[in-house]
Amino acid sequence: MQRVAAIALNTFREAVRDRVLYNLIVFALLLIGTAILFGEISIGIQTLILINLGLAAITFFGLAIAIFIGIGLVYKELDKRTLYALLSKPVRRYEFILGKFGGLALTLLINTAFMTAGFFLALYYVKRSFDAGDPPILVAIYFIFLQLLLATALALLFSCFSSPVLSAAFTLGLFLVGSFAADLKDLADALEAPWLEGVMRAIYYAVPNFSNFNVITAVAHGHSVPATLFWSNTAYAAVYITLVLLASMLIFQNRNLK
């Protein structure tokens, strides 16, 4: 466990050294700019657009970090040959994978926490107060964080056997397909051939269902998120991430590093 933590901490330090957290400045400027701009050019949606855009920005900035750092986690170590030095020490391959995932998860956690703080500051600036409709926004952000962890796990999986460019394409592709998951189910329901319906349904269950985690529009209108959805999404993310990490460990374990 100590070894995993050490790798995770190093991965986090490396991300910070890569100036990943600079995106926070862009995020803050985007939110302030949007709040002011939409107050001028639209009617009555200043808060709504701030919540919608703020949460979408947290997702996309986080996703960019998850994908673009995630795809290099294994590849970079191989390319720089630092992996050999690491594995020559008493570190198991699965520990390396877990450590890398943990490090990027920590980076995303810190990044998301700062963006959340910035977001709530901007929200306070627009509304001049907080109300009972605001706490569900934290649940929406938690769901976003789960999405980011899922994307990190996928990026890490592809990073174990593919080049960075292909890994990015695969992860982004799965994110897109996963965001359209609800449509895949609708399509399966609409198909008449039973075998085709079965195939479509299998794809629906196989792809990571990112649309589960998107409750942004609902919380923007002040709706609360049911506790059952909270636990179901947590369980879904935990199981899916575990499966993806196990697959990553298996692939990396059997990978010929010579």
Binding site: I41, S42, G44, I49, S179, I216, T217
Partner: protein, 295 residues
């Protein structure tokens, strides 16, 4: 390594000259491109359902953008006395993307009902939009107020307007004045007093400065109608008594009918035409509710 003080002035000079050149060229290009520039009067995706599918789940954000586009389109066409061709499709897409965006239904209906050239004058589309709002948000009684308002203002159908107010008043939690409004519209129809009550309620029901300003302007228009009616009565009385048409306001205060030169709410004097008709000064920045924009 070259010291900073040696290259910095040169870099600033290059940046300034380069920046000035880019701005100059772009200005020329702007002038040249005007002929190729047509306002984006097209909607490439006309189906709200498709836009929703393509939004990757961020349909709330897209709804805000489409709503802003609808507001911008309305404002731009209003200034240009244009066609408002995209207004309803934009509102329809907005409300499909976010069926709970109440203000898009409510203010969209106000925009659609505005008579040309201030709006498209399409009350039937306003009703369609509000009915969609009711379908999506069945507990929201204020839509019935808006439907009644559109029947009242757009169609001048006071019976239907009264029915809508009454239907809304039946909702649990509906404001008590809805029933009063239903009775008032049924009894008095298109009186100025009823119009004032309706605009006043619209004014009270929103915090948005644009809509409040619009309602305020209409209320001011009704006040001007009252004032013109009052002044016209004085002029008619003067004609009746003296058998002469007054050529100036001074004739009326000489006869003791007015204490001074009558001014509109913006401080400009009302006009007295040669035939004794009282009008708002065309230079005034307001309008009467009855006579239309700057009549």
């Amino acid at each position: 390594m070259i010291p900073v003080r040696r290259w910095l002035p040169f870099a600033i000079l290059v940046a300034l000259l380069g920046g000035a050149a880019v701005v100059h060229i772009q200005r020329n290009l702007d002038a040249e491109m005007t002929v190729f520039h047509v306002e984006a009067q097209e909607l490439y995706l006309t189906s709200g359902d498709w836009v929703k599918r393509l939004s990757l789940g961020y349909h709330g954000l897209l709804a805000c953008l489409y709503w802003t586009r609808a507001v911008q389109h309305f404002g731009r066409q209003r200034l240009a006395h244009g066609e408002y061709r995209l207004l309803y499709p934009l509102l329809d897409i907005t409300t499909t993307l976010d069926p709970e965006l109440i203000l898009a239904y409510r203010f969209g209906a106000v925009f659609l009902t505005e008579e040309p050239p201030s709006g498209p004058g399409r009350p039937e589309l306003a009703i369609k939009l509000l009915e969609k709002g009711l379908q999506q948000n069945p507990a929201y009684w204020r839509f019935w107020y808006d439907i009644g308002f559109v029947y009242y203002r757009g169609f001048k159908d006071y019976q239907k307007a009264s029915e809508a107010f009454y239907q809304g008043s039946e909702y649990p939690g509906a404001a008590p004045w809805m029933r009063i409004m239903a009775a008032k519209v049924a009894a008095e129809g298109g009186t100025r007093q009823t119009a004032r009550a309706l605009w006043q309620e619209l004014y009270n029901s929103t915090d948005d400065p644009t809509i409040r300003a619009s309602a305020e302007l209409h209320l001011l228009g009704l006040r001007i109608d009252d004032e013109i009616e009052f002044l016209q009565a004085k002029v008619d009385h003067y004609i009746h008594v003296t058998r002469k048409v007054p050529s100036r306001w001074e004739d009326l205060f000489a006869a003791g009918l007015l204490p001074g030169r009558p001014l509109d709410p913006m401080g400009r004097p009302y006009r007295l035409k040669y035939d004794g008709t009282v009008l708002l000064d065309p230079q005034s920045r307001i309008f009467t509710s009855k006579l239309g924009w700057r009549e």
